[in-house]
């Protein structure tokens, strides 16, 4: 009974925390007028979206995709082209996500013939091919037209990034707590066993890949909406993949909270380091990534749960002591 009560109160505490975070993030642009802070928040949301989307396939379905930048890039490219040619932005954004999913399905069926590290190498190679191709087809920088520059506002970009982050996290949460999520994780844990129990590994991998590509494509669309001028091949650079992977690992793969904590940690530390060390922050993150993989395979989320269990054990220890008779003379 007591245990159930504490579970309920824990649920309430989590709900309250979520609502508070929602209110705080929704109200931020109304309270904070500094552009640099808003920019930083947009970056956090973009990275959380990108990393959470990678996590659906990489963390939950166990397929380490090293070509995630391709989906981000395709979302950015499609959205930008359509939007700047005068189509409504929302339609352009959705089209970008759909193109990313289309490409994902196209490469997914052959790529999933490969298992483990070969899948990773295969996806990396495909993304690199796309990166170079886009660089050759669209060599010119893409800039917002003058009219758009004059009316450019940061706040809509902020809300777009926020909504996308929430949408990705929410979908990931619903997905992994559903039947399909159970199947995806079973495939991650032991593919043959999953198949022997009626789970189609290929179907679940393709589903995870599509969801992953869809939200990465949306993140790319937000990037295209946010940036004033960039080379079209820039969102295709493998850095976007590795950032997403690193954030997921530092925060904790295969968890909902991991990419959120990782994303905040990554952007904040990167900003602090970039001020002092310029490009050297890459080395710092490289080392952090290796340390996380070696000593903290569960990421920062694991640190938190370890602290919690340590406290719980301590509390239990004290209770046990209190339960002892006082006058035993010890």
């Amino acid at each position: 009974m007591q245990k159930k009560g504490s579970q309920v109160s824990k649920k309430i505490a989590i709900s309250i925390t979520i609502v508070l975070i929602l209110i705080a993030t929704a109200a931020l642009p109304l309270v904070v007028k500094k552009d640099s802070t808003i920019n930083l928040a947009i970056l956090v949301f973009l990275y959380v979206t990108l990393s959470s989307s990678w996590n659906i396939l990489g963390g939950y379905a166990g397929q380490t995709n090293l070509g995630h930048a391709a989906f981000f890039g395709l979302g950015a490219l499609t959205t930008r082209l359509l939007w700047l040619s005068g189509r409504p932005f929302i339609l352009s954004l959705l089209a970008g996500a759909c193109v990313a999913v289309g490409f994902a399905l196209l490469i997914g069926i052959p790529a999933f013939k490969l298992r483990g590290v070969y899948f990773s190498i295969g996806t990396l190679a495909l993304a690199q091919i796309l990166y170079i191709t886009v660089g050759n087809v669209f060599p010119m920088i893409t800039s917002l037209p003058t009219q758009a520059l004059i009316t450019y506002q940061l706040v809509p970009r902020y809300y777009l990034a926020l909504v996308l982050a929430l949408l990705t996290i929410g979908t990931a949460y619903l997905l992994v707590n559903s039947r399909l999520g159970l199947g995806m994780m079973a495939v991650r844990e032991e593919e043959d066993a999953a198949e022997s129990l009626g789970v189609s590994a290929l179907q679940h991998k393709l589903l995870a890949l599509s969801a992953s590509a869809f939200f990465a494509g949306l993140a790319g669309g937000a990037f295209a909406y946010y940036h004033v001028g960039y080379y079209p091949q820039f969102p295709f650079t493998p850095v976007w993949t590795f950032d997403a992977v690193m954030i997921a690992y530092i925060g904790g793969t295969g968890t909902i909270v991991g990419p959120i904590i990782g994303g905040i940690f990554y952007v904040v530390v990167k900003e602090l380091l970039a001020l002092k060390l310029v490009e050297l922050h890459l080395i710092v993150f490289g080392v952090l990534f290796i340390l996380a993989v070696l000593f903290l395979p569960g990421g920062l989320v694991e640190v938190w749960s370890k602290i919690q269990t340590a406290f719980a054990r301590r509390a239990r220890g004290q209770e046990a002591q209190a339960a002892l008779p006082r006058d035993t003379g010890i």
Binding site: S178, R179, L182, G183, M185, A186, E189, E190, D192, A193, A194, E195, S196, L197, G198, V199, S200, A201
Partner: protein, 242 residues
């Protein structure tokens, strides 16, 4: 009508004929033992039936339908479940989650996870593992992992259950428990094909026994016939004993 009918089944790996023109039938409600020396094609046969390997030729008729060449998950949905020789649990899942996968996907798929969890508990109860439902599979002992595989296979609601060396690595007491359990499962209406290395265990369990050697069936019959069959004694002990 036979429940499972294997006809002219062939499988080769490179130049090696792992299974050659294999033919046998199983009736509903039987416990069939499949024995043979190392490399005689027992596990290959099991992998062919469950779709983990595609046969070069031949048919596998299960309940009137050819299942040869279907992918493993389709074979499971048709009602054929299996366990693995080297246990393949989902290591970071709890015992309950392991079994739930079988219930949720299996022969009668469902999206109701709550009800599935209840039924998964029943499967755990059946194999005597309910007290470990919250333990991660990677923290279970070998015996417990074997029980878990069985519970998981049962949760798919199979009509035919293939057990690949379930008793290997168990001590005599545990093996005896496992035998009782297999009989109970048969009595609940599941047909069973047992692949086993330990001849003694299989003799007491099976209604009929099929003996393989070099991928071919060399004998088939009642347990007491099999132990007296000179050809069987020869492949197990050498010519001098036959």
């Amino acid at each position: 009508m036979s429940f499972l009918k294997v006809e002219r089944l062939c499988k080769s790996f490179g130049g090696l004929m792992a299974v050659h023109n294999l033919e046998f039938e199983i009736k509903e409600g039987e416990i069939i033992g499949l024995i043979g020396p190392n490399g005689s094609g027992k596990t290959t046969t099991l992998n062919l039936i469950t779709g983990f390997l595609k046969p070069n030729s031949g048919t596998i008729i299960f309940a009137g339908e050819n299942v040869a060449g279907l992918p493993p998950y389709r074979v499971c949905q048709k009602g054929i479940a299996r366990t693995f020789q080297l246990t393949k649990s989902f290591p970071n899942f709890t015992a309950l989650q392991n079994v739930m996968v079988g219930r949720v996907y299996g022969r009668e798929p469902t999206t109701n996870l709550k009800a599935a969890a209840e039924e998964a508990r029943e499967s755990l109860q059946r194999v005597g593992l309910l007290d470990k439902e919250k333990v991660l599979a990677k923290d279970l002992t070998l015996m417990e992992r074997k029980q878990l595989e069985l519970a998981r296979a049962l949760a798919t609601k199979p009509r035919l259950l293939l057990l690949d060396e379930l008793m290997a690595g168990l001590n005599p007491g545990e093996a005896e428990e496992a035998m009782q359990l297999i009989k109970q499962i048969r009595d609940s209406g599941v047909t069973i094909l047992v692949v086993e290395h330990i001849v003694k265990a299989i003799l007491g369990l099976s209604d009929r026994i099929i003996v393989l050697d070099y991928g071919e069936k060399i004998a088939e019959g009642l347990p007491e016939e099999i132990v007296r069959n000179p050809q069987v004694i020869e492949v197990y002990l050498g010519k001098a004993h036959a």
